[in-house]
Symmetry: C2
Subunit: 176 residues, 2 copies
């Protein structure tokens, strides 16, 4: 499997803070190794994700890119593929298959996405061509990219949950 | 396949409007037939979802239930199963298999979920035991409930998208 980077473009500090946070949390939980924010610079969002990765494990990196076009062009020239999730695109399952084990930047827009994002993407992919949420679209696309081999099982966090029938069991550290 | 109802509990009008809307949109897009809101009564959220269902097709119903405990007890006495999505629960894929083709209420909490939600649920299920989003958790759980047979293909909306490599193609009506 290649590396997955999730790029959130057009973030608006006042409106999108919670949804953008969910986008990056889903990215991390479902196997991306990197989250890149563009649009409004938003330190609380980046710090919040960084803290989650610290507490719950895994090496998820977050950073800010002022110029997302340049970021995409640089990644493309380094051999990465770009998949843009949009309700107007082609079938995401076929797209995930074509991407195979390449390094992929997954572009997730907030608000209206500029036309050149569509042109810069190698694939514009839709999860159902119906309106729902960039968070659910990302979750299902990452699931298919990993081809049902499941999600990373993290054991290096400061906290860890023991699955439970009817309650909450959280343990500290990794080998206790 | 049985019927799927998504019950959002603990909704807070000021804080959760957007995330709750995404929860219901994902519910509809991924095959639930019904969305039930509890917590703060929030007509704009219900009206917004109703409008999406009208424009994009499918028979998705939304309503408000002041007392979610009573709602769950009534559904259980009518033979429905209750699956509560929580990061503290057991593996969601095994849970989805056990639910087979039964009618299922999927409980999705906002904020801290009261303990009796765990007790009223037949299954408390986690999508990874890692923090992410109730929206991504719901999307993956519904996907597994439908067992990879794909999502409803709606052709009865006023608008419909034709999948496109690099742009937006929206058509009106169902047979044009």
């Amino acid at each position: 499997m290649g590396k997955i980077c999730v790029l959130r473009i057009g973030h608006r500090r006042n409106r999108d803070q919670r949804v953008t946070t969910h986008v990056f949390l889903a990215a991390r939980a479902f196997g991306a190794s990197e989250g890149v924010l563009s649009g409004d610079r938003d330190e609380p969002v980046l710090a919040g994700i960084g803290k989650v990765a610290d507490v719950w494990g895994g090496g998820f990196l977050v950073c800010y890119a002022a110029d997302w076009r340049r970021f995409l062009i640089e990644r493309k020239s380094a051999g990465w593929k770009v998949a843009h999730l949009t309700m107007y695109g082609e079938d995401f399952e076929a797209g995930a298959k074509k991407l195979g084990n390449k390094n992929v930047v997954v572009v997730v827009g907030a608000g209206k996405v500029p036309g050149d994002a569509y042109a810069l993407a190698d694939y514009n992919l839709a999860v159902t061509n119906q309106p729902h949420s960039e968070i659910s679209a990302l979750a299902l696309f990452l699931d298919r990219l990993f081809d049902g081999r499941g999600f990373p099982h993290r054991v290096d966090g400061k906290l860890r949950i023991l699955p439970n029938k009817c309650g909450k069991v959280v343990v500290r550290g990794q080998n206790r």
